[in-house]
Symmetry: C2
Subunit: 418 residues, 2 copies
């Protein structure tokens, strides 16, 4: 089997490339060039019959990922599958299954078989799940798990290979040492054995599997700041430097790669985050979790993350991992998943608009003209959440009809005074 | 009676100045200097026994206003009063009563008598309400209404005096000509009579009343862009130029003044908005409505506005007018008011943090340390919405107890791996 980059280098252009270029409103040649340079990825396992591949990166619209999956205290895969459907319905472009309990193999098979969405995983989770004891982790087990997931058809995988022994002393000054689940597993292992991170040490073997199945590697930021006080610190940027080197190694192997980013970052430090990633990782697509611009808004972290995500997107982040209102509090409900995706889609849309994306300009314009004309049906069609739109209007449905203003101003509506 | 600026110029320092300086964590002398320069206002009618005056502007934390009030299709002042209580409870710093139906005199008296919060109004509304026919509007009626409200104790008033005849032709190219309720009233009157805006023409008389009662004038942006397509256009900045002149006329009379801003603005044009206001209006506090960074998210405009408000705040906006999820759809419910205030408080908090405000740094740090220690009670205490925090945790209360992680990761919690 071959990777997309290999194919493109041999001038074999898969059929979906022209579709994606058309959807992104960019020339096919530009899309191909960006993929070859590593500025754009199309996460698609060559075993996965994915109905609609998408592109992430330069000149493409910003994409949104939704995390789902079981936890030790809540393991109901039917409910998790409903979350997947909710997320897709709300507009998620990709899904990550972060299950850490139960039979997630079956669950993943179900998602992949549907062919409906790009799937990502964090294979260190299953490795630990299967081995049971963190201290027994090793690269062979990890590679077995990775290969198993690769054969299943997983499209992209988070690999926390950027954490090195030399970074660990930098964690002493932190308020929240490590908040990455994967990162914490590896750091504890490294400390226990006083050894280098086996994902870093055996990165070549990881690359071999990624190459065989054309898995897009998502270089995880295991040392991402988990609170404002730790943002942009030496540990974070130390890991980013290593990630930058790993990006080059992926490219040398024609393996697609993206880079994960924080986390909790105050507004004024977001630009530095994005610019640094773009320089250090030579334009690799940047996949950010938030960033959350405040620590003290639990219950509303979809909003703190939408603020940070919009700003990161404006500065060049390519891919937003959603954050739900349940972050820091509980495993998300269906409603949380929905609200998280919508908030991220708003952030992505605002950032696309800041890049003057023609599709975004058009959608905003159609909505505004529909407002001018009191065309509520057209407004509904353009709305990011048609159901909520209807729900809000229906409460006033005797009042709000076509050609009439809403109940906010009634006859005093500014648009009615001509 | 005298204005605060007059008093300060005579070295008479009201008792609340030191309290505000203490709360803002700035030297009293800096606060006074900022007020004298017009960079900070303390909106407080000299007839109003306000329990807790607050400062808005330079070196002060960003403040949040919540709009309430009746509309022709929904006029229930007891419900509006509950909105006021909800808004205060959620953290609103000021309230504007935008009632356009029913006996709002009684309603305002009730609010002012409580002494609990700074109250703003838009006197052109009552003027039209009383006269009934827009074409019969005139400056005398307006001044009567303004004086009546001034005697009641209203602290700040929106005056759309910046719209001039010369701006009207600039509206032809707009997608949404005018979305300001007050602006639309005045523009229709100006067009009907082909005359100059009487608020501009008789601004001296307005200043006289403002001076007598020490009312802070909020120079309304009647030509604010109501959609992305109209952002930062000639009409908007034309009006801003006139507003800049009016700011000077206020200062010449020792009348406190703030400037209202948009509206709908894409992310990448927000900085220009704030910087222009600060230059053209010589550092007068900037009071923005949003800005909303997308047109197509009705039902979520508290989020589109929080994104824009956070960014505006980072660049120097001083005062955020909340936007609720009901914007563009209906008069807000209690829940909408609550969610609108919280979203604006998040934006304000994120912007304060971007200015390294010590109180904000502290609150984020306490929250993060409480997270590290699984101290859920302390987290609740620091949370922006304690009730939602509890609600989310209670669903898992058998799981989430002190010293234990939440249901997101359970035993896999990164913070538990030491």
């Amino acid at each position: 089997m071959s990777t997309l980059i290999n194919e493109l280098k041999q001038n074999k252009i898969p059929g979906y490339i022209s579709k994606i270029a058309c959807e992104e409103m960019i020339p096919e040649s530009l899309l191909i060039q960006n993929i070859l340079k590593g500025y754009v990825v199309i996460p698609k396992n060559n075993q996965h019959s994915l109905k609609k591949p998408i592109a992430i990166g330069k000149n493409c619209r910003i994409k949104v990922n939704a995390n789902i999956g079981s936890s030790p205290v809540s393991c109901d895969f039917d409910y998790e599958y409903k979350k997947l459907q909710t997320a897709i319905q709300a507009g998620a472009d990709t899904i990550m299954d972060l299950s850490i309990a139960g039979d997630n193999h079956q669950f993943r098979r179900r998602i992949i078989k549907s062919g409906n969405i790009i799937l990502g995983t964090v294979p260190i989770y299953d490795t630990l799940l299967e081995i049971g004891d963190l201290n027994n982790l090793n690269i062979d087990h990890f590679l077995q798990v990775m290969e198993h997931q690769a054969k299943q058809g997983v499209d992209f995988m988070t690999i926390h290979a950027g954490i090195q022994k030399k970074h660990l002393s930098l964690l002493n000054k932190r308020t929240l040492e490590i908040v990455s689940r994967g990162g914490s597993i590896l750091v504890r292992w490294m400390r226990y054995y006083n050894r280098e991170n086996f994902l870093y040490e055996y990165f070549d073997k990881i690359l071999n599997i990624a190459k065989e199945y054309d898995i897009t590697l998502s270089l995880g930021d295991g040392l991402r700041p988990g609170c404002i006080a730790d943002a942009n610190d030496k540990a974070q940027f130390g890991e980013l430097k290593t990630i930058g080197e790993l990006v080059q190694r992926c490219r040398d192997m024609n393996v697609q790669v993206i880079v994960e980013g924080p986390g909790h970052v105050p507004l004024h430090l977001i630009k530095e985050n994005v610019k640094k990633e773009k320089i250090i990782c030579d334009g690799a697509p940047f996949y950010v979790l938030g960033p959350l611009v405040l620590d003290y808004a639990p219950g509303y972290d979809h909003i703190t993350a939408a603020i940070g995500g919009a700003l990161a997107g404006m500065y060049g982040a390519d891919f937003l991992c959603y954050v739900t209102p349940a972050e820091h509090l509980r495993l998300p409900s269906l409603e949380d998943v929905h609200d998280g995706v919508i908030a991220s889609k708003i952030a992505a849309g605002a950032a696309d608009l800041s890049h003057n994306h023609p599709e975004s300009i058009k959608r905003n314009l159609i909505m505004s003209k529909a407002r001018r004309n009191f065309n509520w049906e057209k407004q509904r069609e353009m709305a990011i959440d048609k159901d909520k739109f209807s729900r809000y209007l229906e409460l006033d449905k005797e009042i709000t009809t076509d050609n009439q203003p809403c109940s906010m101003c009634g006859e005093w509506c500014a648009l009615k005074r001509k």
